[in-house]
Symmetry: C2
Subunit: 326 residues, 2 copies
């Protein structure tokens, strides 16, 4: 069985090949969406490479709720149709799943993921949780018996601390009528925080994308960028703590996403802004110390999840997946 795995985010698309359910690491390719007019063009480009060959199945993970055979990406004006994928890939076995459902499925093979410890805790039997910030924010949980719970947590409300975070909330609430986690726990949130920090310190904003802010912030060369990175890492830690209280994931918490990985210097270590915010749950501090937290450094976790998904029991959850004959 040769399966195409695809992880389509708001900014980049990753492709890989699974041979009998295992990802071939040499087949993994990441491409910027901006290079292509639509998903079909990117898929044709990947399949056109000499070494790919034919596939029996295609599993495509998307940053969107999956409800039907034609999906519109949440953060980019692209439409993804199962029929078009079937035609291009040359197989009627096409599955669309939510990208975080793919990550939740990957937790069923967590030993196959490359991780670095953030907080030790004591991982044991129980719910596993994955969460992450990139173009937007989301999470999913793997519960007993291999069921994956789909979620749209990026659209829940942001709970700011007084001060800079409340300014950030007001900034987005003023523009969009409300302030969701997607707005703030993401690259756009980091840039907005950096601009607010510059405004407070009376300096002109020099940096205009999230990669520059994390590079300058982590290097300690720019005080406003460092404040933005530390604040975002704290917001991410507090949100991870809120989700830990929501799912009580005794089986461990996995952090993923491009922005999360770029903020690693502000996340790792028991005294990081992330860790301090994660643990700061008042009377629940002791409970929080029991959770094991790891940073997923492997960019291809969602591809692993695409290949794991067909073997899990919950492959027909509405909102999580579209499958069946195309």
């Amino acid at each position: 069985m040769r399966a195409l795995a695809c992880d389509l985010g708001g900014t980049n698309v990753r492709f890989g090949l699974g041979i009998d359910g295992r990802l071939d690491p040499e087949s993994v390719v990441q491409l910027p969406n901006d290079r292509f007019s639509g998903f079909g063009a990117a898929l044709k480009h990947y399949l056109g490479q000499a070494r790919v060959g034919g596939v029996d199945r295609a599993v495509v993970a998307l940053a969107a709720p999956i409800d039907g055979d034609t999906i519109r990406l949440t953060n980019r004006d692209w439409t993804i149709a199962r029929a078009e994928i079937a035609q291009i890939a040359g197989t009627g076995d096409v599955v669309l799943i939510n990208d975080f459902v793919a990550l939740g499925a990957a937790l069923s093979r967590s030993e196959a993921l490359a991780t670095r410890p953030v907080l030790p805790g004591a991982a044991e039997q129980g719910v596993k949780l994955v969460l992450g910030a990139g173009t937007g924010f989301n999470a999913s949980a793997l519960v007993a018996d291999g069921h994956v719970l789909a979620a749209e947590i990026g659209h829940t409300g942001f709970a700011p601390e007084p001060g800079l975070e409340t300014e950030l909330r007001d900034h987005f609430a003023g523009r969009f009528g409300r302030c969701s986690l997607d707005r703030v726990l993401s690259g756009s949130g980091l840039v907005a925080l950096y601009r607010l920090a510059c405004g407070r310190s009376g300096r002109a904003a020099q940096l205009d994308d999230a990669a520059a802010v994390t590079a300058e912030g982590a290097g300690g060369r720019d005080a406003d960028a460092a404040l933005a990175c530390g604040t975002l890492a704290g917001m991410l830690g507090r949100t991870a703590g809120d989700l830990a209280l929501t799912f009580l994931p005794r089986g461990g918490i996995y952090l993923t996403g491009g922005v999360t990985r770029a903020l690693a210097p502000f996340i790792q270590g028991a005294d990081s802004p992330f860790a301090r915010a994660f643990l700061a749950k008042g009377r629940m501090r002791e409970l929080m110390q029991g959770f094991a937290l790891d940073l997923v450094v492997d960019d291809s976790a969602a591809l692993v999840g695409c290949l794991a998904w067909p073997d899990l029991p919950s492959n027909n959850v509405r909102g999580a997946c579209a499958a069946g004959p195309t």
Copy 2:
């Protein structure tokens, strides 16, 4: 099989008897905790009534994380020990479960609960969610195959809107260092909102408990109380919406809790502050309209859950339950 069911909240305790798993409605009694020196005294009082008789099992639902055989209530200085319950009830079969886990278990018998519709949606197969405000706030989910997910959502952070809600957040963050949902989605949160509303309108606060604020607010006799009730109902609706996005409960959402029920005039109807806030999730509005929402008017739902729990598969989840020989 005669089982004692008990629902111990921060303010009141409810007892009832199950005969072969079904709650005898005539056996249900509610008592204020303030009348007793501790849980043992309340239990002795109930069991001392002529018609109760002996029991084969006791299942006690508590507003606290359950981790071990001796539990301290989160919102009251009482300690609950399985050994003491076994001694007073005269049975070694004693189970302690989290109160919201009991409510989650009650969802497996949702047809037995007395409910009123809040939003129609389209309840179908899938996750069911229960949430509610009383002395504090919490929720739990019943997932596929009858597993109940325990949670401590009352300790997650409050996401305020700009204005009165942000004042409320600052009020509690100033006192406690942070502002959790427990502080605001509760009787104490309603009273604090009422006082802030009085301060804004330049009137002296006349009411000093949540029951008075809901009575005056619902009757339309006190503008500050009405504003506090409408604001709290909106906060509750927004939080219910956030939890709907977190669990995607296609099987329905059930609202419970004493404060929730008292706010019913601000919750029912598609144009209520609750319903408007529940649906206001930007690009996710259509998704939100698909969820069915019901208000549980039956005070004894947690007792039903105590009796349902032993038949469900997840009766050994850490954090949710303590059982086994005493």
